[in-house]
């Protein structure tokens, strides 16, 4: 599929919205130190402050600035999402690609394993593993990616198999195209959209899992995280502080997931030939 994904996704209304959301969140996360005077772990001495000029979103139960925590939480969320997604895609590329290329017994055994892993609910297993291992950020990324990759391996395998047999690759090879040439001119552009779609799907799921695990209080307690902020704030709903402490991380998390969903759906529409063109049916 030779598609310029960025161009296609940008031309779609939903894709544009999704990309805008994700890029602004990324900017906020990267520019966090410029956007606030505090560090996330700073104690300002004033607890449960309502929003003011000094604390844009007020302070929490131990006097930390909520706006600062929100910004640094974005870093951890995006880092977990991106890290786990890339790692999981590498796993799927390695397993799916090698299964398709080597074939035989190896392919059959590996794919049987993938099929079995696909039916295991990942969130539940991640919770179980995290409860035992009490992971830091890096370990959490590894755990999430270990339980995510099977979904990608199937798609990578199917795509690689189709490519291996496809006429234009055969033609390129028969005209003396070397391995790197075929990889660069034919395989990479064909696999690109599929891999991007998998990465986006993985990123969405790992952002959610990170939030869920920290919401349950089983990730590193020193980590600033939206899930943890919500869990803490939920204890104080009776104090009427939820408006500026509980809602911002929740909306930030929802916005991140919506950003991924929109971009992913736009990409899927681009890639599915039957949905791609606006076909007008009799009922339209």
């Amino acid at each position: 599929m030779h598609i310029n994904i960025l161009k296609e996704v940008k031309s779609d209304y939903m894709g544009r919205t999704g990309l805008t959301i994700l890029l602004s969140l990324l900017a906020l996360a990267l520019l966090a130190p410029l956007l606030t005077h505090y560090r996330p772990e700073d104690y300002t001495g004033l607890i449960f402050q309502p929003p003011s000029a000094r604390h844009w979103l007020g302070t929490n139960d131990v006097g930390q600035d909520v706006w600062t925590q929100l910004l640094y939480g974005a870093r951890n969320s995006l880092l977990t999402g991106g890290g786990a997604a890339v790692l999981a895609v590498l796993f799927s590329l390695l397993t799916g690609g090698s299964a398709a290329l080597l074939g035989g017994m190896y392919d059959r055994v590996l794919m049987r394993l993938v099929d079995a892993m696909l039916v295991i609910p990942p969130v539940i297993v991640v919770i179980l593993t995290a409860a035992y291992l009490k992971p830091n950020l890096l370990l959490l990324i590894v755990i999430i990616s270990v339980f995510l990759w099977p979904a990608g391996a199937r798609m990578v395998r199917a795509q690689t198999l189709a490519l291996k047999e496809s006429m234009h690759v055969m033609a390129a090879r028969s005209f003396g195209g070397g391995r790197t040439y075929v990889l660069k001119r034919h395989l990479a552009p064909e696999m690109g959209p599929v891999l991007t779609a998998i990465i986006i799907q993985f990123a969405r799921r790992s952002v959610f899992m990170e939030a869920g695990v920290s919401f349950l209080g089983i990730s590193d307690p020193s980590l600033v995280s939206w899930g943890k902020m919500m869990q803490d704030a939920l204890q104080f709903t009776y104090l009427d502080v939820w408006k500026w402490w509980l809602l911002p991380p929740g909306f930030a998390l929802s916005l991140t997931i919506i950003g991924f969903t929109f971009t992913g759906t736009a990409l899927e529409t681009v890639m599915n030939p039957r949905l791609r063109k606006e076909v007008h049916h009799a009922g339209d």
Partner: protein
């Protein structure tokens, strides 16, 4: 072809889950008994109890024997002992499983029904304002993590408006029966159910909509139009019915998401199901209970998915030849 391979997949999945459950506590540094039961419990144990537990888990023997001891105790329905609740894990779990089944079952039925109907209407009007609006709204709603949707509903209806109860599944010590009990049950169920169903409508909706778009291009629709079938009949009987197949598998695939979503939502609403139990087990570091909960949940999900897979082959014979 499909039948036996599917069953084998699920068996392998089961073995993987059991091995994970077996290996995790034994991976931890230090005394495996301490990892199985947690730090707090080990302090309270008498030496005799420790010796008995070591013998029961065969911890003084080879790994193979330990695994055998683990599997055979599972087969006897012994998931361990929850020291926080001071009861066998299985009994504790069966106390809260019905609430989760009620919540998840109703949420699946409601979200699938609404999703399919909206999907049919939306796919039929592809590209028109209603379709665009539905697509945007549902995609937006599905972006909300279920527990945050729950928090929003709880804050709005429970805290601000005071319309719904804030926690629990029934009013404690109300002692009412019959119709009052049912209304009370429904009042407590309404918010968790709405938040769980709301974020899940998008999946059956999208599938039905896409399948509708594809079936509407088929020749039999043209035939139906040519013989003068009314619009509604074409929409539901011809195109709609043929767009249902992917939804059946999707419902099965949704179950794991539903269950994990329900876990978080139950925590938000303090609904006395598996989620709240899991949260308590995490807070009190009741590891046998934690393992038991996750094992029971996974096995439930696996069995329902297996059932869906088998039903699906019956519904669409083409699948059986696809392998």
């Amino acid at each position: 072809m499909k039948g036996p391979t599917t069953v084998i997949n699920y068996l392998i999945a089961l073995v993987l889950i059991l091995s994970l459950n077996f290996i995790l506590p034994r991976l931890m540094p230090g005394d495996p008994l301490q990892a199985i039961y947690g730090d707090e419990a080990i302090i309270a144990m008498t030496p005799e109890l420790k010796a008995e537990l070591v013998a029961r888990f065969a911890l003084d023997q080879s790994t193979g024997r330990q695994f055998w001891a683990y599997i055979s105790s599972l087969l006897r329905g012994d998931l361990g002992y929850s020291y926080f609740y001071n009861a066998p894990v299985l009994a504790v779990i069966f106390g809260s499983l019905p609430w989760t089944v009620l919540l998840v079952g109703l949420a699946i039925i409601i979200s699938t029904l609404i999703g399919v109907v909206l999907g049919i209407e939306s796919g039929y009007r592809r590209g028109r304002p209603l379709d665009r609006a539905l697509l945007g709204v549902l995609m937006f709603a599905s972006g909300f993590p279920d527990f945050f949707a729950g928090i929003l509903l709880l804050l709005f209806f429970g805290v601000v408006l005071g319309l719904a109860p804030l926690a629990g599944a029934t009013t404690p010590y109300a002692g009412c029966g019959g119709l009052t009990f049912l209304t009370d049950l429904f009042k407590h169920l309404a918010l968790p159910l709405t938040s769980l169903a709301m974020v899940r409508i998008a999946s059956p909706f999208l599938l039905t909509r896409n399948a509708m778009v594809i079936s509407l291009g088929e020749p039999f629709i043209l035939t139906a139009r040519a013989k003068g079938c009314p619009d509604k009949v074409i929409r539901y009987r011809h195109a709609g019915k043929n767009s249902l197949l992917p939804v059946v598998t999707a419902t099965g695939m949704q179950l794991p998401h539903m269950v994990s979503g329900a876990l978080f939502i139950e925590i938000v609403f303090s609904y006395p199901g598996m989620g709240s139990l899991l949260y308590n087990a995490l807070l009190t570091r009741d590891y046998p209970l934690l393992q038991g909960i996750l094992l029971v949940l996974t096995i439930t999900v696996l069995s329902v998915n297996l059932l869906v897979d088998i039903v699906y082959t019956r519904l669409d014979p083409r699948i059986a030849y696809a392998y």
